[in-house]
């Protein structure tokens, strides 16, 4: 009973905090966009514009919700919900702090900073859920009954399927090294060996990073939206909060992917020379949570920074990059890692 209560508290905390974070990430994005273009950005609502996300949210809710007469209504309404749900459930296995027997003790046991602790197929689960995200987009494109939206949906399905392959293979090197699909085990391995994933698997890191951009539909891979060619792509026909939900889904995706990059390749909660997995107590738990959060925030800022640096890919180049460059590289990376491991371990 107590366990279920704790679980519910954890879930509501994660959901609440991530949703709030998304609102503020939009402000961060707008600010960075402004700075990159030598502007100031929103600064009128509240001190430094800090109340802007609230006003934005209110605007989203109060706008007229137009459902065009020619759309396939049930699917049209279902699509944004699918986007949000698939983006949210990925958080179930993302550790947002240290997990294990050494967590800070509250009542009868250590707190696990993960909704589903000790799940040993964490990465597999995230990839499976991540693949579902394409349903939201392709259903939105199909249900809109509009050529631009449909093209956006088609593009997104081709893009996501193509990039899932190198993404899955790029982490195999890391998985081979650690010998586990558990995200906590991967962090602990990096912590124990005093080496981050980016050092032992630089190629894997690059391939994963590029695929992460493609999976989140962020620039330079925002082909499904591409305002200039497809008006708004899959969300052309959406307005009000339905559009807002696609927005929310995209940012939730960015958060998940940033967590994954940090956990897999940037050491997770590991701070060199300061932390290790045998530490107990609240202080170290807080240090680890903030270290992980800080790295994730830097990663998100990097995602936004890239947006204002690189132009969008042409579609054939996008496919070429995935199939002709990244998949062979990922396979080579995997084979070399496996060979070296076999030789070293004998």
């Amino acid at each position: 009973m107590l366990e279920i209560l704790g679980l519910l508290i954890k879930i509501s905390l994660v959901v609440g905090i991530t949703q709030g974070a998304v609102a503020y990430l939009i402000l961060v994005e707008r600010k960075i966009a402004a700075f990159a273009q030598d502007r100031i950005g929103p600064n009128r609502v509240g001190p430094l514009g800090l109340l802007q996300p609230i006003v934005d949210g209110v605007k989203m809710f109060l706008k007229e919700d137009v459902t065009p007469g020619y759309v396939n209504k049930p699917i049209f309404i279902l699509a944004p919900f699918l986007t949000i749900v698939t983006a949210m459930i990925g958080f179930a296995v993302v550790p947002f702090g240290p997990v294990g027997p050494n967590g800070p003790v509250l009542m009868d046991g250590p707190i696990q900073f993960q909704i589903a602790p000790g799940i040993d197929i964490g990465i597999l689960y995230i990839f499976a859920v991540g693949s579902l995200a394409v349903y939201g987009i392709i259903l939105a494109g199909y249900a809109s009954n509009n050529k631009y939206s449909f093209l956006g949906g088609l593009r997104s399905s081709a893009q996501l399927i193509s990039y899932e392959i190198p993404m899955g293979m790029s982490i195999l090197g890391m998985v081979l090294l650690v010998g586990s699909l558990d995200l906590n085990a991967i962090v602990e391995w990096q912590d124990k060996h005093h080496v981050w994933g980016i050092v032992v698997q630089p190629l894997g890191f690059f391939i994963f990073l590029i695929c992460a951009f493609a999976e989140t539909n962020r620039l330079p891979f925002d082909l499904p939206e591409s305002e200039q060619e497809l008006v708004g792509g899959f969300h052309t026909e959406y307005s009000s909060m339905k559009f807002g939900m696609f927005f929310l889904g995209e940012y939730l995706h960015v958060i998940t992917v940033s967590y994954l990059v940090v956990i897999l390749f940037l050491g997770g909660w590991d701070v060199p020379f300061l932390t290790d997995s045998s530490q107990t107590g609240w202080l170290f738990a807080l240090i680890k949570i903030s270290a992980l959060l800080g790295k994730v925030l830097l990663m998100i800022v990097f995602v936004m920074w890239i947006r204002w640096t690189l132009p969008r890919f042409r579609y054939d180049r996008l496919m070429e990059l995935a199939w002709k460059r990244m998949i062979p590289l990922a396979i080579a990376n995997m084979v070399v890692t496996a060979t070296v491991l076999q030789l070293v371990r004998g």
Binding site: F35, D38, I40, L310
Partner: protein
Amino acid sequence: MRSDDPSLKRLKPPKLTLFEQSYLPQILGGLFVTGRHIVNAAVGTGSLTMEYPEVQHQPSANYRGVHRLNKDEQGRVKCVACMLCATACPVHCIDIVGATAPESWTDREKYCQSFVIDELRCIYCGMCEEACPVDAIELTSFYDLTGLSREEMIFDKTKLLSVYDLTKTAEPMKSGIVAPESSHTNELYTTPTMGPVIERQQLV
């Protein structure tokens, strides 16, 4: 010219090295450029934005904003109702009704009884200013012209003269003659009513 003409100069794109083919140096260069802009605008003085209501933009001296009707040394309207500005106007936004000047006005035969400019129709080209033989009509540096109705934006002689009173110190007449203070004794001039625009300008 044929495609195998020997005088044709053939250009070959430069061969990229393997490192350059990965586009990583170019991406890093791009990140450096945007990063510099982000940091400069965030913490330094890189931002080019002028925060408008607090900071007012000062247009250049030859900026073409709202019109004004100049007054002469005795405070009379300089316009002699020659209709050159109305003729020169490409959008016909100037409407002048001329009348015979009073006996005491020895320097001219006519003056303008009414002088109306539709500021919404005007394209601010400055042709009226160039056409005027007596420097009576000039464009000022007012740029934030707003109104709540179309009627409000049709400026009559009173309004145009009041624009002159507001701007004569900041922007002297281009011919160099400034009318003396408190010279609106003539019944032709009434109190300035420019609407909210000018009132705000007075506050600034």
